[in-house]
Symmetry: C2
Subunit: 186 residues, 2 copies
Amino acid sequence: MRVPVPLRRAYQVINHGPTVLVGSAHGDKRNVMAAAWAMALDYDPPKVAVVIAADTYTRKLVDASAEFTLNLPTEAMLDVTWNVGSVNGEAVDKFSRFGVQTFPAQVVKAPLIDGCVGWLECKVIPNEALARDFGLFLAEVVAAQVEDSVFQDGEWRFGDSKQRTIHHLSRGAFLASGPLLRAKKL
Amino acid sequence: MRVPVPLRRAYQVINHGPTVLVGSAHGDKRNVMAAAWAMALDYDPPKVAVVIAADTYTRKLVDASAEFTLNLPTEAMLDVTWNVGSVNGEAVDKFSRFGVQTFPAQVVKAPLIDGCVGWLECKVIPNEALARDFGLFLAEVVAAQVEDSVFQDGEWRFGDSKQRTIHHLSRGAFLASGPLLRAKKL
């Protein structure tokens, strides 16, 4: 079941560095792409950083709307994740082409992606130089949700479920999120 | 065996979003801390982004030296990783306290950490506003190395080795890097 995460804990959704799907929209246009270069940036209010390259359709929509969503795809979504990261959304409607289903976000207009296990809604903190020089976007997280069957007490608990998150290496090779480990105080 | 990685492939070392150890030095002072908020930022020349909070000793050393290293600790280093992320290096020599061994970097003066499986040497791209407002540092990667028993053909191949990398969730809970998955073209 999809449940809200208190904003002060939103960083916990992406703290482990998974590859994400970036949802974007402007007017009646929308897009989805994959991004391995995303991370938390602050706790409270929560912020994130993500690289959105200049030559992408997502970039056009985010530049126009100043909003996006970060969605955490699963092992079950491995092929879709790689493929939406490999074609340009201006030429192809990736939602219909790859069977990507969406549902409405709570605060932003960009879509959330069905089948994912974590969802962050983000409003861009304007910084033209960062976008121009590095394709880097900083954003405040304004809403967060998780799939509670695999996220409990502020921790991802995937076991070896096909709902575990994935981490892109390169060229379509990914690592699944592995076993839970608990560090000890020394 | 530790082997160099061509700079254009340095992003592959951290593309999967592992938690890293940040090595820093200035004059005869040095420190090590853990950071989950680190990511690749560009391919060639390779760049990275990492959050180094204002209240850390690492921040003082990086502000003074404009250099740092990112080191990828392993499951075997789980406890050390969490503990060096939990105490301040100005009060405690974390190297002796936690038995952290180092070796010299090739280009920068900050130390590289023994027992890790990937090492990036980084020179800060100056940006005072980002550091002040977000604790965010952008840097160019000027040298990269990996442990070749677990990194082949540009891919991490950990299996279930204790040399696999780790991903911090929160409060000392980590996920190990899991199985290798290969996406298919749709």
